[in-house]
Amino acid sequence: MWWRSASFILDRQQNDAALRPDTSSTVTPPPPTESSSAMGLPTDHNPNISAYYQTRAAHHAVVTSDWLAQAQAAAAVAHDPPQSTSTADPDKPFSVIDVFNNWRRQPDLAEAVAAIRALAAVIRSSQASTMMQLEIELKKASDSLKAWDTTSISLTAGCDLFMRYVTRTSALEYEDFNSAKSRLIERAEKFGEISYKSRKIIAMLSQEFIFDGCTILVHGFSRVVFEVLKLAAQNKKLFRVFCTEGRPDRTGLRLSNELAKLDVPVKLVIDSAVAYTMDEVDMVFVGADGVVESGGIINMMGTYQIALVANSMNKPVYVAAESYKFARLYPLDQKDLAPALRPIDFGVPIPSKVEVERSARDYTPPQYLTLLFTDLGVLTPSVVSDELIQLYL
């Protein structure tokens, strides 16, 4: 069904344009995800390679020379060459993007946490003299962050959550602006701290589920999953790990390297051998780029099929995801997402007539997931929506 093309982004812009007159009369505020494109900020990166993927590639250090070459070629074909992302808003004396990129350079810091810290820095350096000004400034900063990479779910969700968490507080009723501001900073830092620690909390929560002698199938490289496995190895659990290769960026190779360093028995499995090995597997562990309203996850390409295979063989599928990845999205099917595109290296030249599916991630519906390990606790998929409703409404 080729006509089911992903026109999600275009649609969204159209909707926003058409709905703008309506919004003044509505009582319920529009969901924050829709307002992301409201800022007229020009996105300064190549639409063919999503910033999401660039971030991933940089973080996971899997950028090979041939990939770079191909990326350059792909970029050259497109309308404008990619610029450096730090020049997003040169007029402003303080650029939230700069701070964000500074934080992002830390290898272990998640994108969303970097954004949260950048936003906290916005409050701190703000010249605003009233609460309303501060709020508007914060909103602008978060919008520019979100616009910096519209395809990253955790970045958008992290910004939204921060806004919710920080601005929805009794501090706004303080008489004195300075005390209110310091309260906000306090809260922002607390939120940053919670987000930073969430990976450790998740690792602790999931230990009970890893039993001696179990075999765990892992897909791609997820820092949370790695944290979980690392803690299990430190706790002297005896288990072995099957790593999928994670084509085309071979993130599985990296995970297997890291695990081998910890003396965990690892077996590398090519992506197409998942069903073949599934009978030996006791549980599947995956990370997530985003957890959506339905309780399903958006994750690296291939997660869906692994979940399908695992579900049909009655193996549990566990997801490790921090709560700042909870997003108010509700994809109905695979194509109902903003696609994050990436180049794919097939090793041989592909004829120009041949189309290549370049989407970097897929959506796994909640019925194929068993449990979600989050810093809020171990949740069933249906609780995600519960939490989201409480957070956002």
Binding site: M1, A18, L19, D22, V27, Y330
Partner: protein, 657 residues
């Protein structure tokens, strides 16, 4: 039957202790019982199905019978009666009829008078077993008597008394009939009846039922023991004892609950239960409701067994009758009256429209309301609203959204500060209702449209079923945005409301396909999204919507097409329902037997009263949450599992606004 019931028969021998039955050991020793066990299922509590109206009518007609004391007249009426829907019993009827008929007539005569009939009736009836049977079948079969159709006398206080007597009489008669070899056929008939009832009654009711059954069994056995020897003394004594409890216990399950003082714990427990809905197979309650009723409702004749607990009335006579009554019903405000008539005639349908019509009628009613002297505003107005609501229920059962709106209005009334003057309170209520309509319905729809439109992409093929105001708005808005999509409207008889939608969409230039529900599985493969409306969404995610919705959702699910249900949050209910049986609405059965504009398909013309034909016109059905991908509501797009969350988080706010 009995093996299943056995383990439950442990509790509460209270009624038995009263001592109107012989002790159990008496009934034990080898008693020549022709039908040993099944007879117990023919218990006294097996209330004949609730054809209350006809019974009333019968009663009014009845005085005729005793005036001619001859056996012939009675037997004639009896046979007419037995020829009713329970054909099985009629076979047994004629043979033992003649010896029993005198006793029958006499007992009825007395019973109608002062209630001292028991001794008399029992003493005479016991020798001839047929007499009991005649009386037994009377209240059930009596439905078909010609008088039932003709007469239109409203129920009165006197009638109810006689109904109670009548059924208890019939029941006692049955004990004897069983004892003396009641037919297996009849037993089976009763059994199915009882089984069904059991499914739907509350625990308290079940217990009362069971007790009474056991009591009856014991009585039957005891009597059977003695019947052979001492006829007069043996039977007369227990019969006397039976009288008071029977009057309460047997005639109605509900009445036994009302005794209350017997078992206070049960009463307490009942308080926790959220107001049980009226079960229309519960005779006495129906009777009571009837007495209050303003609208004269005639019960439909052949009702489907499984749905007897739901109200079903003959639709034809209702509207003209009500219209004729306009100047007599001074208790009902004209605006409410108008809304009721519109519900009845089907001019206003769809739960949003009905809810808005009701609220606006209440607005008018409140505006014209004057506090009567020596009454408080809050209390009297609440009572007034309640009476309006019951009037509306008589016109058409409420849908859940209306129930929620009424709940809202009543909380608002109750929360009115006492310091406000009458006009101020009225103004505040007026604006509250206005706000409810605006925020919970109109604005909610706008938000729903905004959310749902994001799920429509170019090239989509959208399928919808029937007519839903929210879905219509979504489609029109998406069209206004310039999206390229196609709509398939699936429709079904008898309402064919999809045609309304089709007309409106085609007028606006959407490209539409119109098809009947029969073609659903054929058309589904090209569909990319299914948009459905809902009357309500229940707490377990079940979508309660127009009949056929479940079918559409299931087929879509099996084709892996996402199903989006659009429903305003004020329609969410904290109830849980697993099937479409226990709560539903029955429409006019006539409309499904007749096809409009097709004179050639008249196979069922005039068959409505055929006893082996039961027409079922369900209005709603329940779609399990497994088949729903998403619920679009004014709080965003949520999975069906989140409905209880929204109910929990926002219900209070919704009631208070």
């Amino acid at each position: 039957m009995d093996t299943r019931r056995a383990p439950r028969a442990v509790i509460d021998p209270k009624v038995r202790k009263v001592g109107f039955f012989a002790p159990p050991e008496l009934s034990q020793p080898g008693l020549p019982d022709p039908i040993p066990l099944p007879s117990s299922s023919l218990s006294p509590v097996m209330i004949p199905p609730p054809r209350h109206s006809s019974e009333n009518l019968l009663h009014h007609a009845r005085p005729l019978a005793p005036t001619v004391p001859g056996a012939s007249s009675v037997s004639i009426e009896g046979s007419v009666v037995a020829g009713g829907s329970y054909g099985s019993s009629s076979e047994l009827f004629p043979a033992p009829m003649s010896p029993a008929s005198p006793s029958y007539s006499s007992s009825r005569f007395v019973g109608g008078g002062d209630g001292d009939y028991c001794l008399n009736g029992a003493a005479v009836a016991s020798p001839g077993r047929g007499g009991g049977k005649a009386a037994t079948s009377f209240p059930r079969g009596g439905f078909e008597s010609p008088a039932a159709k003709a007469s239109s006398v409203p129920a009165s206080g006197l009638t109810t008394v006689s109904v109670v007597n009548d059924s208890s009489l019939g029941i006692r008669g049955r004990e004897k009939a069983d004892n003396g070899g009641g037919s297996a056929l009849e037993a089976k008939d009763q059994a199915t009846n009882s089984k069904q009832k059991k499914d739907k009654t509350t625990k308290a009711e079940r217990r009362a039922l069971q007790e009474a059954q056991r009591a009856a069994k014991a009585a039957a056995k005891a009597e059977g023991n003695k019947a052979s020897g001492t006829v007069t003394s043996g039977t007369a004594k227990p019969a006397k004892a039976i009288k008071p409890p029977h009057k309460v216990d047997n005639s109605s399950v509900a009445a036994s609950e009302k005794k209350g003082c017997d078992r206070p714990p049960e009463k307490d427990r009942k308080k926790d239960v959220p107001q049980p809905r009226m079960q229309y197979d519960d005779e006495s309650r129906v009777e009571k409701a009837k007495r209050r009723a303003v609208v004269k409702q005639t019960e439909a004749r052949n009702r489907v067994e499984l749905f007897r607990h739901l109200p079903q009335y003959e639709h034809g006579s209702l509207l003209p009758d009500l219209e004729a009554k306009f100047f007599q019903l001074d208790t009902v405000h004209p605006a409410v009256y108008k809304a009721g008539l519109q519900y009845l005639s089907g001019n206003i349908s769809g739960s949003n429209a009905r809810c808005i019509a009701m609220l606006q009628a209440f607005q008018d009613a409140i505006r014209d309301y004057r506090v009567p002297p020596e009454k408080t505003f809050v209390r009297d107005l609440t009572a007034k609203i309640s009476s309006y609501v019951s009037f509306l229920i008589e016109c058409r059962p409420l849908c859940i959204s209306m129930g929620n709106a009424i709940k809202f209005l009543k909380t608002r009334i109750a929360k009115l500060p006492l310091t406000l003057s009458e006009s101020e309170s009225k103004a505040s209520l007026h604006s509250d209702i206005e706000r409810f309509i605006n925020e919970k319905i109109i604005l909610a729809d706008k938000v729903i449209v905004k959310h749902a439109v994001t799920k429509i992409r170019d090239g989509d093929v959208l399928l919808t079923y029937g007519l839903s105001s929210a879905v219509e708005m979504i489609l029109l808005h998406a069209h206004k945005l310039g999206k390229q999509f196609r709509v398939i409207i699936v429709d079904s008889r008898p309402q064919l409301r999809g045609k309304i939608l089709l007309r409106r969409l085609v007028e606006k230039g959407l490209s539409c396909t119109y098809t009947q529900i029969n073609a659903l599985s054929y058309i589904m493969h090209e569909v990319t999204r299914v948009f459905l409306g809902a009357s309500s969404v229940l707490s377990n995610g079940t979508v309660y919507s127009g009949v056929g919705t479940a079918c559409v959702a299931m087929i879509a699910h099996s084709f892996r097409v996402p199903v989006l249900v659009c429903c305003e949050a004020y329609k969410f209910s904290e109830r849980v329902q697993l099937d479409s049986i226990c709560s539903n609405e029955l429409g006019d059965p006539e409309v499904i037997s007749k096809v409009l504009g097709r004179e050639d398909v008249n196979y069922l013309d005039g068959w409505a009263n055929t006893e082996n034909l039961q027409l079922l016109n369900l209005i709603y059905d329940a779609t399990p949450s497994d088949y729903i991908s998403m619920i679009v509501t004014d709080y965003g797009m949520v999975p069906p599992t989140s409905v209880p969350v929204i109910v929990r988080e926002y219900r209070r706010e919704q009631l208070w606004i």
